[in-house]
Amino acid sequence: MIALGPADPCVHTLLALLADPHHVLSIGLPEWDKTIRLARQARLLGVLAQRIQPHDELRSAVPECVLGHLRSATVYSAHRGHLLRMELTALAKALPPELPVVVLKGAAYMLQKLDLARGRLPSDVDLMVAHSDLDPAEAALRNAGWEFEEIDAYTERYYRQWSHELPPLRVPGHPLEVDLHHTITPVTGRLKPDTTLLFADLQALPGERFLVLHPLDQILHAVVHLFQDSDLQAHLRDLVDIDGLLRAHVHSHDDWQALAARAVQHRVERPLWYALRYCRAWLTTPVPEDLPLATPPAAVIRLFDWVFPRCTLPRIPDQPAGISRRTAARLGSLRHQWLRLPPGLLVRQIAHKSMRAWRARITLRQQSE
């Protein structure tokens, strides 16, 4: 197992439970106390609950006070799932039927009825259309009542020119936001999956208005989302998604070879290599040893093995984060900026943000005087 850094011992318990719910049989109350807190912080309590509750012999091994939290998380995730379904129904009505629209991430997992959707907490709705369909899709949604939240001109430009999605849309009063994408990573990013390939292999779902990505692209999207398009902060649940997708879609030797080949085609070998490394180590995902993926340099792996657990794993928040976690968080965030924007734009973005922060501070000072 890769060292978990300064993580609480109960992080091991949480990972062990995610890998195999039978681990409940060896957990005492003091461990539950921390494990529930860690799972909640990682937004994985509902997932944990759904893996334990269906098994009578496991459920009966869980103390009543702990079961309450699992039941509560199950109710809450079911409620969020219900809201997601309602939003998708409204979207299906609003979008012209001839327009091919893809659902990504949580909404797709739900429509595909994948095991990993059980207990998962969807946060918003992610849709994708071809770049050429962006205008009609946006117009259709705005006609049907979806609105952009108030943002300044710079942020608007940031979304439209350099991002892979429009600013978030929402019908006033609806609990969920809609992100309308035209590809799966920021257009300025260093790693750019092949969008043509993504759209060429879309899959229809029987009885559904929406399309989903090819199963292998679904995996690679989740991988890129975690290892490129995030600052790695507290994203254990993204790793759990990847584990769930691998278990759902990749079974045979040929499947694994196809996944590696697809990663090469999309030029996202490196992120996949890391995803498989941590999935295998932490969630016992059955990843074969001999995949044709280039291994990163040993020093880089060592650095990543130091940063990743410190950023990604939840922690008991009774004490402030230590120096090693804070350093790792800083590194994770720098890496994210670096991967997302080319140097010129990065300088511009940092200049703009610091200017804005500086102006805000001046205004604040003037107000307080």
Binding site: D33, R37, C65
Partner: protein
Amino acid sequence: MTSQQPQEPQHTQPTRIRDLPLTLLEKRFSTASLALDYGAAIVRVRSRLGVFVRDFQQVYGAFAVADAPPFADFHTEVCGGQGLRSFLRPQSRFLIDGIQPFDPFPKAQALPHFEWGVNWCFAQRFNQHVLLHAGALALGDRAVIMAAPPGAGKSTLTAAMMLRGFRMLSDEFGVLCPRTGKLWPMLKPVALKNRAVDVIRDFADNAILGPLYKGTRKGDVAHLAPLAASVDARQRPARPCLLLFPSFRDGATLNIRRLPGEEAFARVAFNSFNYALLGQISFAAVAEVVAACPAFALEYSRLDEAIEAIRTMIAESTSDAVAA
């Protein structure tokens, strides 16, 4: 130097918080080795704010001093403000799992802040139960659910009933377990607002009220300490047998009106913190309560008259027969 600090005796531990010397209580708070058992939930609290601990002892006096249990439902902290500001304008902050869900209060209002915080945590996270916005009291194990919109005098009536011998479960949360159909106590100090403070102070000699906090976000607030009889029974759920919708009106003569089931259902269900969130579960649970319990609207102006009427109604309700 000989230690003047009171020592916690090894065998004859004081059983209630009011019996614990303040210094020992402060020590327990500073190490978070104090846990509050509200019945439905156990809350661990860490604090180094002297003013909080002092006020806390007054309104939680009857609660048991228990060693920190191995499992707590919420891990909270009440702490002071940060930085320079903490000297200029002292504040209290409420944290759950290291997160500060709302803006700080003035430091002197740390206790109301904590009370509000625990209510918030409970309403957010305890979706294993249907959380009715209602007072709940019991005679033995037969409970009355009193739902009313804010301002109808629900807390005042709840407080008065406890002082006249009812077992209080909660003045704010009707914690209905959908699997057993029983109500769990969520026994907290009753937050009395404005006029209700003096009404209750004058109502009974056994009323123990905490400090009066002037000008909080909800007006002037003082907390009524739960009595020992209610505290000691906080692990005993009760079966609902009466639904009541009380309203206070100055000078009103007592008026009790039977309500049809569908009206009672709407009034209970739509006065809930999480009815919509639980979907079918809450529908079934509330429907079962409405089917089992007669429902009445009760208008009153004299507390004792209302309380005697409620006592009679509970005795006459036949819910046990229906439920069995």
